[in-house]
Symmetry: C2
Amino acid sequence: MSGLDFDSDGRRLLDQLFDKWSLLVLEALCDRPRRFNELRQHLPAITPKSLTTCLRRLERNGLIERLVVSTDPVAIEYRITDLGRSLESPLQAMLRWVVDHLDVVEAARSDYDERRTRSEETRSVPEWLHRT
Amino acid sequence: MSGLDFDSDGRRLLDQLFDKWSLLVLEALCDRPRRFNELRQHLPAITPKSLTTCLRRLERNGLIERLVVSTDPVAIEYRITDLGRSLESPLQAMLRWVVDHLDVVEAARSDYDERRTRSEETRSVPEWLHRT
DNA sequence: CAGTATCCCAATGGATACTG
DNA sequence: CAGTATCCATTGGGATACTG
């Protein structure tokens, strides 16, 4: 009754879905099919290696397809599948939440850090909390 | 027009939100406030260290609160904040998608792996794709 | 263009034991 | 009960260079 029951399978699926780039790549492909280097441009910070890994995973999970288009110099494009499309709206909702709440989360962090540093002048804030 | 524009800030926020346990912990707290060991029971595989880390992060991001309840032996409970609550429905949607599609994703994987192993008898499937 | 191949480091997170 | 302290293994992922 407490909502969803996650056994280890759910846990692991979550891992693969939410790696560092998957959500962003998936969103880019929701928009329209794209090619490898288009995606690289769209996600400026991604390295070719990471992008490859990410695309293979999404493909393996059935969320996207890799298509070899027989044009003159063959083009390779990635496009979302029906399964991937079914994730679109939950995905968009999450991403939208993130952009809509960037500032308030940021504020919460400053707040937290300040309270921490004020109350205990001795111990400094663990820096693992600081990476944005 | 391609939807959301993610600069590095969005990227990093995503990191912190989607660590290995955050979503699950957050969901557990959406249900009702819980105490440390309650959460441990609810997430059987989590270690105390990971749970602590996760809770501190969520707290720092303003999604949950840590409350010291002055009962006889003091009780400590974690409860979701309004900010955290605002994430509830996108979160539930994502988790629901996952449970609803566990089997079809699983099928897609078997499919992918089989096609791979069939087409190239030589190279075996990279095992990093195998961890469920 | 669409990747692969290496090298390498930082960080996540498991296991375990201990504590106010 | 609610953590903290260590130690340690894995790995995700960046940088860079190379290739069919």
